[in-house]
Amino acid sequence: MDAFVVETSGLVKSFGRATVLNHLDLQVPKGISGFIGKNGAGKTTTIGVLLGLLKPNGGKATIFGLDCWRESFQIRRRIGIMHEVNAYPGGFTAQRFLEHVARIYGVTQANQRVRQVLKDVGLSDAQDKPIKAFSAGMTRRLGLAQALISDPEFVILDEPTANIDPLGRVALLDRIKEMHKQHGTGFLISTHILSDLEKVCSWLSIIDAGKIVDQGNIEALAEKYSANIYKIEVSDPQVFVERVQMLSAVERVWIEDGKVYCKVQDPAVFYSEIPRIASELKLQLKGFQHMLGTLEEIYTKTSGGS
């Protein structure tokens, strides 16, 4: 595993008596990672601590190995951020706003960079339009543009697809994927919309009540939280199903699109029995695949079904 870009250990953040982050141990590698949790789980507070906007009450938070509170300035020079709440100056045009941001980052040839980023996020046609006239989707894309203006190593996106229509969401996520592919930019996407992450992420951290309940490579988590469903392709599904139903290791069997699906109680027994049954019935075993758990299954199991 690569070194983690973002790492927190035992991170605690309280507001008065309310503890929002309760010994949070977050690890985020370079790549596109998802940070998922229900509303109020502590995602935005974690981002606040990572950016040095909130001072932790305990524990440690680092990005690139730099302390998030004491070395926040150095961190912010290397990352981009898109907040959940749009606070962009409505009277500015997109071009003017991004020029200001570029100058703050000390971007050389700011005008050229602004044009490039606007093109990258698909806002070239709207560069002279005041931000207050932007639609929700355009504003989110502008948020992505300002996060990318300095060509950062790592970008944190807080609810990037909030309030935008399904097509806009797909387009935005495609852009993120493209950025990662073209420039190797790392992304941490904080969201409560599971389907968004399924499309782009390779790593997932799940937060619930201020704690990381699980995190890891998406495939590994899918394996871990899979519902033990197997897909089998055989030459005669009907004959095969009648025989498989008799196995005590199998909970349920059904046919869908000519393929046999089995929900299994004892995978070890099931694995050894299937080839034997196929052979016994003289059926051709064309495919045998473990169906990995969906993000929804992972999330439901880790977050207690809430």
Binding site: G48, L53, L54, F73, H83, H100, R103
Partner: protein
């Protein structure tokens, strides 16, 4: 320092762009014209003393405008999430704080000072009249006091509307309660300064027959708002740069 000047340009463009700047200028001119038209005795005197009598509305408008602008820039920016956005960029907190102050303070002062200079024309007073600069000093002190109070209240409330109301009620309340007899009220300070410097510069035409201020009174009239400004401003600065959490 590049970031500081970038922030300064941002603040100027955002808070003092066309309609807002126009409003500021018009309000300053209106304050001067309103007072000129309402005071019957002003045109008859035709002397530096008219500067004292015509300052009341200007102090009121200045306090109101400065209170609103500082509250918008400091508390409003926190409430709207602008401060959070800015502090997510590679910006040092002191740069953001001072850029807000630097963008607003001199411009408000220059606009009101320039508008007030119209009175020199209306009253046929020389532009080099020293008492004009004494009046400007009183405006500067009032602006400092308004700035200190508004910024400090903004840091506590982090709400634009509460900050505007609280600071204006406080400042205008002092003026209303204290009248012209206290160093804390705008008219009071101007009275002490006008009396002392008027006696000194124009001994032949004393500004007040019944009242005479000493050098100590004039010094106190300057020191009190400056100290209040410094204490509140430094406290707000330290809080913003060292302790404030942006949620």
């Amino acid at each position: 320092m590049a970031s500081f000047f970038s922030l300064l340009r941002w603040e100027l463009e955002e808070y003092l762009s066309f309609p807002v700047l126009a409003f500021l200028i018009v309000s300053a001119i209106a304050a001067v014209l309103f007072q000129t038209n309402s005071g019957g005795h002003i045109t008859s005197e035709r002397s530096y003393i008219s500067l004292f009598h015509t300052s009341g509305t200007v102090f009121l408008f200045l306090t109101f405008c400065a209170g609103v602008f500082f509250s918008r820039s400091f508390a409003g920016a926190v409430g709207k999430g602008e401060t959070k956005l800015m502090l997510s960029y590679p910006v040092k907190r002191w740069q953001l704080f001072l850029s807000k102050f630097t963008a607003l303070f001199p411009i408000i002062f220059v606009i009101y000072g320039a508008a007030y200079a119209l009175l020199l024309y209306f009253n046929s007073i020389s532009v080099f009249e020293p008492m004009f600069f004494v009046t400007l000093l009183a405006f500067l002190l009032q602006l400092m006091l308004t700035c200190g109070v508004s910024v400090a209240v903004a840091m506590v409330t982090k709400s634009e509307i509460i900050s505007i109301l609280a600071s204006l009620l406080f400042l205008l309340g002092i003026d209303s309660v204290g009248g012209a007899g206290t160093y804390l009220s705008a008219q009071g300070r101007l009275k002490f300064l006008f009396s002392y410097f008027g006696d000194l510069i124009h001994p032949d035409v004393p500004p007040f027959t019944e009242f005479s201020a000493t050098a100590g009174d004039a010094a106190t009239a300057v020191v009190v708002p400056v100290v209040i400004f410094l204490v509140l401003f430094v406290a707000a600065f330290v809080y913003f740069t060292r302790f404030m959490e942006v949620d």
